[in-house]
Subunit: 145 residues, 2 copies
DNA sequence: CTTTTATTTAGAATAGTTCTAATTCCGGCT
DNA sequence: AGCCGGAATTAGAACTATTCTAAATAAAAG
């Protein structure tokens, strides 16, 4: 697979927030786009290092935080495990495989989302919902990790 | 409200797992039952201390872990915040109020739960689902915290 | 160019939780 | 009653993921 290069899109989004496009931010972003297996910051760090050997872990954290702020990436948490990062911006749930530790994106039909918002009593104004399944996946699905 | 004393039920559940009922476990459990505001381990610690002044934080963590194992209590996580504990065993979602930090239980009709399981593709066998709303609650609801 | 501001960096600091090793507690046996 | 053995508690050290700090670097603006 050719390395994704969404630098224009990224640059645009960063600019919208008054931020600069930097090599570090670009490489971190591309790492997330190229292997969408919900890596942790540490995993991103080691992947990025092959392209930018002198990058620091703090910078990786900074870049990830920036990408999340710009709505280019979602941060995903399972229990107290290290935060994982996900470039899928469609509304979706996560399936966390207890055996393998792998995370799979689960598409969420708008009907289900609508029904979910229906369960909120008056006075509760939700900005976002997070849905996490936990269990075991009997089939491995290409592209997830 | 009189202090809840579910010691028989607790003793039973513990025994089922080959564990003993201890003053520490009982007080920790009662603290959770008496104020269902999803306290953190630290909060439980300080509440328990008024009854058992010499208890240690490690013991509070141990007891909470034990109660979770025995299915008497649920551990709840929001992002990377400290784990909170919830004695509500009915299937329910959580609403996390961003302004106040308070957590509210949201009842989940079985129909919604069923529909949710429907979104899982073949090969995904979910043991549990976790649903977290994030936003602001315009009304304060008695009994939640 | 120089100034200003953003970004990166290494390492220290922090926070929540778990681990370790020693002590205490308690039930069952004599 | 007294002892044994496993379970539970404890204090404090250790650990891990993350954030903070302060200095160095880079890059835009004047």
């Amino acid at each position: 697979m050719a390395a994704t290069d969404n630098s224009e899109a990224l640059t645009q989004r960063l600019a919208d927030s008054g931020l600069r496009s930097t090599p570090q931010r670009e490489v971190v972003y591309n790492v997330l786009l190229n292997k969408r297996d919900h890596p942790t910051a540490d995993e991103v760090f080691s992947r990025v290092k092959s392209e930018l050997p002198t990058i620091s872990l703090a910078t990786v954290y900074n870049c990830l935080e920036t990408l999340v702020q710009c709505d280019l990436v979602r941060a995903v948490n399972f229990e107290r495990e290290p935060t994982r990062y996900c470039p899928n911006l469609q509304p979706h749930a996560h399936f966390h495989d207890e055996q393998t530790g792998r995370t799979h994106d689960i598409e969420l039909p708008p009907t289900v989302l609508a029904e979910l918002n229906g369960v909120l009593p008056r006075g509760f104004d939700a900005k976002s919902v997070e849905i996490t399944f936990r269990g075991k996946a009997t089939k491995t699905v290409a592209g997830s990790g």
